[in-house]
């Protein structure tokens, strides 16, 4: 809950024009993604989710002909080397560690969103 609020607040405070669709776990996220006409530009993925975990979810995404083009950035507290390697192996667009401090978080997200805003994205 707080994570979503945090993200929304960051987007709001930075006055960025992005729309955020939240999903509490992998299952929900897949449901959201079923609406093919409203696919997101980028996905921010936490690895530690109930039911389908982050890596499983990532695998599903990357095996889908359309969704595999959506840049997926892992946003997590886990600096586990194994997870990091596995994510890059499956295919991610970035791996960002959540810092403790809110200000650090804000600045990291701002830069992240700015970066992806200037990227050309593929719509399939």
């Amino acid at each position: 809950m707080i994570e979503v609020m945090k993200l929304n607040r960051v987007v709001a405070s930075l006055e960025l024009p992005h729309k955020i669709t939240e999903a509490n776990n992998g299952e929900e996220a897949l449901k959201v993604l079923e609406q093919k006409d409203r696919l997101p530009d980028i996905i921010l993925l936490d690895l530690n989710m109930p039911k389908i975990n982050g890596i499983e979810f990532l695998s599903i995404l990357k095996n889908d002909e359309r969704m595999k083009y959506i840049p997926t950035i892992v946003l997590t507290t886990s600096s586990n080397q194994k997870d990091l390697l596995e994510c890059y192996r499956i295919g991610i667009a970035g791996y960002v560690l959540k810092p403790l401090k809110y200000e650090d978080y804000t600045s990291k997200l701002e830069r992240l969103l700015c970066y992806w805003s200037i990227n050309e994205l593929i719509k399939v």
């Binding site: 994570e3 507290t77 886990s78 600096s79 194994k82 403790l100 401090k101 200000e103």
Partner: protein, 694 residues
């Protein structure tokens, strides 16, 4: 005189006259007849005499020329006539001297001679009189005499004639032969070899030994042929040899074959057959010498079997293979199709069936309890047992159909029963003491290897168990690290949320809170930071244990350069690397953690105006010894050991979790090194650690 009387007289006279006349006439006739007869007689006598003379001379010629001695004696025994052979035989020449045959008699034969002579006079002849005589030159000769009485014309005995044959040589030869035959018989009868004389495939003579060996009497034997007491399949070989003998190619041969005893049992014998040929080389007899080698064969079978067992298990280490070889060889030796080898586990108190030689290959592998059943009893007592009749045995546990006798022998090593050899047979009373002692020999022979195979199996079991444990340990270690990551993640997330919320409250209430509250929020934040650090450090500590990839080398110079970038080093503190650092084996991340912890400690705990940190090393034969020296606050002696233990932070500091030095120690341990500290409280601290070169 009375007329009548005269008449009578006259008549009588007249009758007398007539009678005389008649008589004269008859007489005349008779005398004529007599004359004629005597004349005829005379003539025929003359003829006869002539004939006799002729014959006598003929006979004389014959007698004189016959090989045997011919003697004519008078009734007193004086020799009247002797032929040359007689002269030669007796040594007396009657033309020159007199000879009474009584003088020729051998002293010992005198009575016999007189009896025979008596017979001669009574019956007129004797035949086949065999006696000894003494010749003129005192030689003793055996003679054979046929004699008859000579009568004169008046049928009165006037002498005797006899044919005397010298049988000394013949008799000597016969005696010699008899003697030799007796000797031979003694040899033959007392021979330990069975001897059979065969003519035309029939048994014609046997000796005591063969009768004893086969259990037949001589009468029974001579009704049999060799084929009757042999096994068909073994006759082929003998027949081939016999054909060669017939053909004259060989004179003897030797085979090892079985014979059927009268009792039905079998005897193994080495048989030597020799041919006895006549002058033309034709086989007259076959002599077979038969030697009972059943015992020899048995013992050679035993030796062979024991040899086979020894050979077959040589070099084998697998308990099942060894057991199978033992079972196989023993079943063969015992001529049974049932032999089982049990492994005895004295700790579990069980017998495990590990090999079974039987027609049914897939008999279920059974496990018994020690003390149960016959094999179980043997496993318990260590004493071999023979069960003559399994039907009468209470302990017997039937495993196959109709197995009526059983033997079980323990395999003993160091006084402990480690296995049991078990065999069963369809016949009652099958197993003998000899079987038992043979199996015991085998058991003794295999015990050592059996034991080492058991040990090997146990070791392998233990090893695989160890490996399992290790795998499990590795897995649980891995799980533990995963767990550490998950836990740290789960712990960090709420920390972030709290931190975020605090930040928001601070933002949203800017200017509305008093200074104490603002300070307290600051404390919450720094506590959160410390908590975050603690979690990170614990996580790091737990990941130090993970294995590196083999053969990684790390250049310490590059590592320190990186660290200078990462670490926050205040202006007043200088870090000096005394000389170029070596390249050491080890994972870069871990070695960096090692240096990072030591250097950051040196930075953190420096109270001097001009903080100085020196990093150096020297090389030893098998390791490098590094040094991180500072001029900081120093550590009291009593804490020198304590500092390397986890959560033993000496200083209450916002930067210190108390995990850092434990991580250092853990990494140094991982690379087979040592870490220690030298310090003067208030003046500074030097950490030393070594890293192995390989």
């Amino acid at each position: 005189m009375i007329k009548s009387q005269v008449d009578i007289m006259e008549r009588a006279l007249a009758r007398e006259r007539a009678a005389r006349k008649e008589a004269e006439r008859i007489l005349e006739n008779k005398s004529l007849q007599l004359y004629n007869t005597s004349h005829e007689l005379k003539v025929s006598n003359q003829k006869l005499e002539e004939l006799l003379e002729e014959r006598t001379s003929q006979l004389q010629g014959v007698f004189e020329n016959i090989y045997d001695a011919y003697v004519i004696i008078d009734l007193n025994g004086n020799a009247l006539k002797m032929n040359n052979a007689a002269t030669e035989l007796f040594g007396y020449d009657i033309n020159k001297e007199t000879l009474n045959v009584m003088n020729l008699l051998h002293k010992e034969d005198v009575k016999y001679a007189f009896d025979s002579f008596q017979q001669l006079t009574e019956q007129g002849f004797f035949t086949d009189f065999t006696t000894r005589i003494v010749t003129r030159n005192k030689g003793v000769r055996w003679v054979h005499i046929n004699a008859s009485i000579i009568f004169n014309r008046r049928k009165m005995p006037i002498g005797a004639q006899g044919v005397v044959r010298d049988i000394t040589d013949a008799k000597y030869t016969a005696e010699l032969m008899e003697q030799q035959k007796k000797e031979l018989d003694v040899i033959v009868e007392n021979s330990s070899l069975g001897i059979i004389l065969i003519r035309d495939k029939k048994i014609v003579r046997t000796n005591e030994a063969i009768k004893k060996l086969l259990g037949y009497s001589e009468k029974e034997l001579i009704k049999l042929t060799i084929e009757d007491i042999s096994f068909k399949e073994e006759m082929e070989e003998s027949k081939k040899f016999l054909m060669k003998i017939e053909a004259g190619k060989i004179d003897e041969y030797t085979v090892t074959k079985r014979y059927k005893k009268k009792s039905g049992s079998v005897v193994w014998a080495r048989t030597n057959v020799s041919a006895v040929r006549n002058g033309q080389g034709k086989v007259m007899f076959l002599v077979a010498h038969i030697e009972d080698i059943t015992a020899e064969r048995k013992s050679s079978l035993i030796i062979e079997m024991i040899n086979d067992v020894a050979k077959s298990i040589l070099g084998k280490m697998d308990i099942y293979e060894i057991a199978w070889e033992i079972a196989d060889n023993i079943a063969d030796y015992l001529n049974t199709d049932n032999c089982t080898i049990y492994l005895v586990d004295q700790e579990q108190k069980t017998l495990e069936q590990i090999a079974t030689y039987s027609e049914k290959v897939d008999i279920k592998k059974a496990t018994f309890t020690i003390g149960v059943g016959v094999a179980g009893t043997v496993a318990k007592t260590g004493k071999a047992e023979i069960i003559k009749n399994t039907e009468l045995e209470e302990r017997y546990v039937a495993r196959g159909a109709n197995l009526l006798s059983k033997i079980a022998v323990p395999i003993i090593s160091d006084g402990e029963v480690i296995g049991v050899i078990d065999s069963e047979h369809r016949k009652r009373n099958y197993y003998t003491k000899e079987h038992q002692s043979t199996l015991e020999s085998v058991a003794g022979l295999v015990a050592m290897q059996f034991k080492s195979a058991i040990n090997l199996r146990e070791r392998q079991l233990a090893e695989s168990k160890n490996k399992e444990l290790l795998d499990e340990l590795g897995k649980s270690n891995e799980e533990l690290q995963e767990y550490a990551h998950i836990v740290s993640h789960d712990l960090k997330s709420p920390l972030r949320s709290i931190n975020t919320l605090v930040t928001w409250i601070k933002e949203d209430t800017k200017g509305q809170l008093d200074e104490t509250s603002v300070q307290n929020f600051g404390l919450i934040e720094s506590t959160l930071e410390k908590m975050e650090m603690l979690i990170s450090d614990v996580l790091m500590y737990s990941s130090v244990g993970t294995k590196d990839e083999e053969g990684q080398m790390t250049d310490v110079n590059a590592l320190l350069e990186d660290l200078k970038q990462i670490l926050y080093v205040p202006e007043h503190i200088s870090i000096e690397i005394l000389k170029p650092m070596p390249t050491v084996p080890g994972d870069k991340v871990k070695l960096q953690q090692l240096f990072q912890n030591l250097i950051s400690n040196a930075v953190k705990f420096n109270d001097k105006k001009n903080g100085r940190i020196e990093i150096g090393f020297h090389e030893e034969q098998s390791f490098y010894q590094f040094m991180v020296k500072d001029n900081g606050i120093g550590i009291k002696k009593e804490y020198h050991d304590k500092i390397f233990k986890i959560f033993q932070s000496l200083n209450v500091s916002k930067d210190s979790t108390g995990v850092g030095l434990s991580i250092v120690k853990k990494i140094v341990d991982l690379y087979g090194g040592n870490v220690w500290v030298e310090s003067t409280f208030g003046k500074g601290t030097t950490f030393y650690f070594t890293l192995s070169k390989g």
